[in-house]
Symmetry: C2
Subunit: 701 residues, 2 copies
Amino acid sequence: MKFKAIIFGLLFPGILAAETLSSPGGIIDVTFDVNTDGVPVYSVARLSETVIKPSRMGFILKDNTNLTENFELIGSVRDSLDETWQPVWGETAEVRNNYTELLVSLRQKETNRLMNIRFRAYDDGIGFRYEFPDQRQLIYFTLVDERTEFVMTGDHIAWWIPGDYDTQEYSYTESRLSEIRQHMEKSITDNLSQTTFSPTGVQTSLQMKTDDGLYINLHEAALIDYSCMHLNLNDTTMTFTSWLTPDALGDKGSLQTPCRTPWRTVMVSDNACDILASKLILNLNEPCAYDDVSWIKPVKYMGVWWDMITNAKQWSYTWETPSVKLGLTDYSKATPHGKHGATTENVKRYIDFASEHGFDQVLVEGWNIGWEDWHGKMKDYVFDFQTPYPDFDLVGLNDYAKNKGVRLMMHHETSSAVTNYERHMRDAYELMQKYGYNSVKSGYVGNIQPKGEHHYSQWMVNHYLYAVKEAAKYHIMVNAHEAVRPTGLCRTYPNLIGNESARGTEYEAFEGNTPAHTTILPFTRLQGGPMDYTPGIFEMDLSKVNPDSKSHVNSTLAKQLALYVTMYSPLQMAADSPEMYSKYSDAFQFIKEVALDWSDSRYLDAEPGRYIVAARKAKGSDEWFVGCTANEDGHESTLDLSFLDGDKKYEATIYSDADNANYATNPQAYVISKKKVTAKTKLKMKAAPGGGYAISLKPIK
Amino acid sequence: MKFKAIIFGLLFPGILAAETLSSPGGIIDVTFDVNTDGVPVYSVARLSETVIKPSRMGFILKDNTNLTENFELIGSVRDSLDETWQPVWGETAEVRNNYTELLVSLRQKETNRLMNIRFRAYDDGIGFRYEFPDQRQLIYFTLVDERTEFVMTGDHIAWWIPGDYDTQEYSYTESRLSEIRQHMEKSITDNLSQTTFSPTGVQTSLQMKTDDGLYINLHEAALIDYSCMHLNLNDTTMTFTSWLTPDALGDKGSLQTPCRTPWRTVMVSDNACDILASKLILNLNEPCAYDDVSWIKPVKYMGVWWDMITNAKQWSYTWETPSVKLGLTDYSKATPHGKHGATTENVKRYIDFASEHGFDQVLVEGWNIGWEDWHGKMKDYVFDFQTPYPDFDLVGLNDYAKNKGVRLMMHHETSSAVTNYERHMRDAYELMQKYGYNSVKSGYVGNIQPKGEHHYSQWMVNHYLYAVKEAAKYHIMVNAHEAVRPTGLCRTYPNLIGNESARGTEYEAFEGNTPAHTTILPFTRLQGGPMDYTPGIFEMDLSKVNPDSKSHVNSTLAKQLALYVTMYSPLQMAADSPEMYSKYSDAFQFIKEVALDWSDSRYLDAEPGRYIVAARKAKGSDEWFVGCTANEDGHESTLDLSFLDGDKKYEATIYSDADNANYATNPQAYVISKKKVTAKTKLKMKAAPGGGYAISLKPIK
């Protein structure tokens, strides 16, 4: 560990004392000081190049006494760590956590209130958080807002989505920071629950690139008992300021000392691949909280789902009950509309196929009563999570699945009636335990109840974690959709096996996703944890699934395969139907074979919004898998296989776009070829516009 | 049943059709019509004397389409009932439910929306409710407010408390309706959670008296899945209009058809005793929802409570933890402050005394961790309802009590962190079941969380009933404090054995209650169900309990005894300490003997704000008990014992104020005398200023 002594006073006249923390490899410097007004200020540099200009830190409090100025530095403590830990599941078998640390202690003059700030410097970025010690002069306080600045060095390019208290399901816009304002309105597409707040407000993780070629990423880690942070841009000074999510009273945080905020993170590198490979967010989270993790397993699954998303089938059972009251509505007397997806017969078909092809689970949505009347009504008792429709044989299907070596995956759509969900949660989990379900996909569609709360407010942040921790008591894994975007909590609570929290494949059946979408998500949304992106769609013309549909999936078929590698997740769905996979059984072979858990991951080539090429080695195996996803320009590159074991020969099975493939006009044109390769092989590879490729590499015995 | 045909058109030009419903005995008439604007209008008369002048009915909806006018009457159905039912506990062994009914069906022109109104006429008043049938043209709707009018015939005298969304803990003001505005400000005394809304807003049950000597009472019955109704007065027209309690979004109701509102009630008589004896509110509630009620029993209890109210002891354990975090705060390391009330030793003292004197239960407050830091903080995880303080032996004390034939009464103060309570409710009830607790006093002090909700908003109304219904699954009786005022739900859910929902005896240790207070509560608060008023205070000078106290209990000792009769409740506390009851053991004898459940009740003499004299016959016994409570003027009367069995002789034990007794200056001056009496006896009785008397009447064998 080395400490730099810099003359900070030259930059900030009147400064009393400055502390600089250098990362273990000396690449990143973070400098902290208190200015003449007593305002805490930090800045970040990479190899002496400024990344974050001097930026103020603090809080506006509801009682009109702010924690923004009049501070004095009363002490500092330095520390460092270099450890290696093993995730329960992950991109790599081991994660190195190597940082230097600076804890500065501040006292506010007159009020005597104490506030500490802990910085950790890694070679690929920094994190810092506020810590409030136990003190009589500050016990309870309510935030008007947090005022943490991130002052940019210029008008960077950013890949951003609109700041919103209730949804992240937006397409990314690529623009200069100065252009955010002009693009905001058209970036705000409709959602069933949405609350934007500023013409320059954006969400994290925010990926940027400077004109000097630095990749900068702003996010947060370990979001616990605090509201989700957005960033609001002053597009004159290019300063982002933290903008928290309000509660029903408009307050943005209720804190009780001793306490601490989540980590605010800045990742930075001159190589985009480093951002993708960074473990900074995970490392800033606490170690696993569970002693026994033997029940947590990666999951490859199919599901009764895409048919409903494409409107070919329905979650509901009947058209006859526009006003459902659980416990009063008598489904046994209703005439089925015949479009119900979650019928015993249909689910059996999925179980049969999943079993035959080695899948772990079958998700069934629309199995429980209430879907005739489930969203947009601020209805409280919308689902009971327990009562099946008359045509869904809960007991029989679980037995049937069990006999076939497959489990059903539970589905808990809450309709955002969250207090109702909490009331029923224990019974719902007990029902799952009784029938052998070990994972649940939960959903939070629509406006939140408790009324006035938001998807990302403190109470909801606490709810999501409550649901995960309660589930752990029943050895249940959770995959929460429409929940707050993840911040690495899966390290601490690895039964949080997935989240949605972004625009997933479902939007291909609505307005469509941009071809660039999956070249951005790994830089942004995936920084916090895996996404249940649900790839594997083989039929891009959705009018062939539902004649009324005019939707088109903006991807080639080969790219759909690549996503199993490029979009890291221990939870992977094969989202299309058994029929489609039977029709393209050669391509389906990749989905069957691709691993879910990895001993190593390499990002070979990446540029946000353009392309990502990743290689991963299966855990407990010598097999490697490669994926490439490209935007509408396609991607050509020479794939250097030097990551392979130099002593081995491999058979590569290459699933690539055909020469004439194109996501819009010819998405199903793919070519499968086999080739013997070694670590010395270099493959000329080409992804079509909106295309990609996938490769399996198996050692030859 | 008889129907009156009146020429309504003379009163309301342009009227299409009028319906009049007469009560079974022909005493009350309610007339309904739709006026020329299609506005539903009702009026009420008693023996042809107008009680409610033509008053409009309807709703303002959030979607800007109102349910106030353009209605046409499309049908009406009449019905009647004369039945007798047996309450699980009550003032009488049997209740007669004898009414006529008129259901009018309305259709709104253009919108085609359907709204029905059901009227029931009793000889002592009426009830009506809105009913919305199942219909596609009106499924979900959100109320801006209900607009039900109660147009008074004059400037009546009223006994009122300020309208408030969060508390009913106010002293009553007696004034003309026209004087409410001028008295409002001083009527709004401080409370830990309070939200008033109008200078002429008052709460129900509202007791009034006309200059013609009619007693009129406005209230509601069967408040379920709807927000609590207040009344806002136009003091020019003397028109009360319903004013519902808003939710966190400011909305006043979220309804889904088919549904119905609570009953709006008007009780009326020329005899104040009839108002006290009325069973109209109970009769408008549904029959008992439980098959097995064998576990529901009246309870006479003592408690570790008054010492904390007087600040002689504390709920808390230590002064060292101003910031408690459950699960983190280590009480085993904290130094006790020595003022903790709920110590094993102190509770044993109460158990010993309670056992010796035949009490059922001992309430213990402050037994569980968290009280150092429990209110006013909008803290979420404030209590876990499970973890005792180090000096409270949960297991040992329950065993100790059981061996002495006494049960402990559980205490669940929620601090209004209601979602936290719901998360812990099942575990808390399971803990109770495990140790043999069969009743819980719950509390809702402070502002409600979910944030923005109010004590009387729809979500909270639903919560209180949820807690009662969940408790029933564990055979637990509930006595909820600071909950919404009751509306007769104890008929349907008789394990709701008590409520506070008004200014109770605890205020005697704060600013004091007025001597008139207990002469008004039976007219108002008690209309909806029993109150846990916690009488039985024998030491009125509270400086003798806590030298720092300057409070005085505004009652004579004899009046404290009378309250066990005048304030009907199946749950009765002897709130003072064992020491005090040992000191005045002769007076204490009445508390020991007084029954909790009754086969008959007679109101002998009553005037709101002045005095109440009641006689009750113990269930399963030939004993009678009489009580009288008086305001600061005292009360003299001749007590006619003709309610006694004419064939029997009785020994009367009379606990009365001494001649020189006075609530303010000489409250403990009482005289106990015995006398042989029969049904022909007339006793000259006198209550001192702020005093009263109590009599037990035992048949002589």
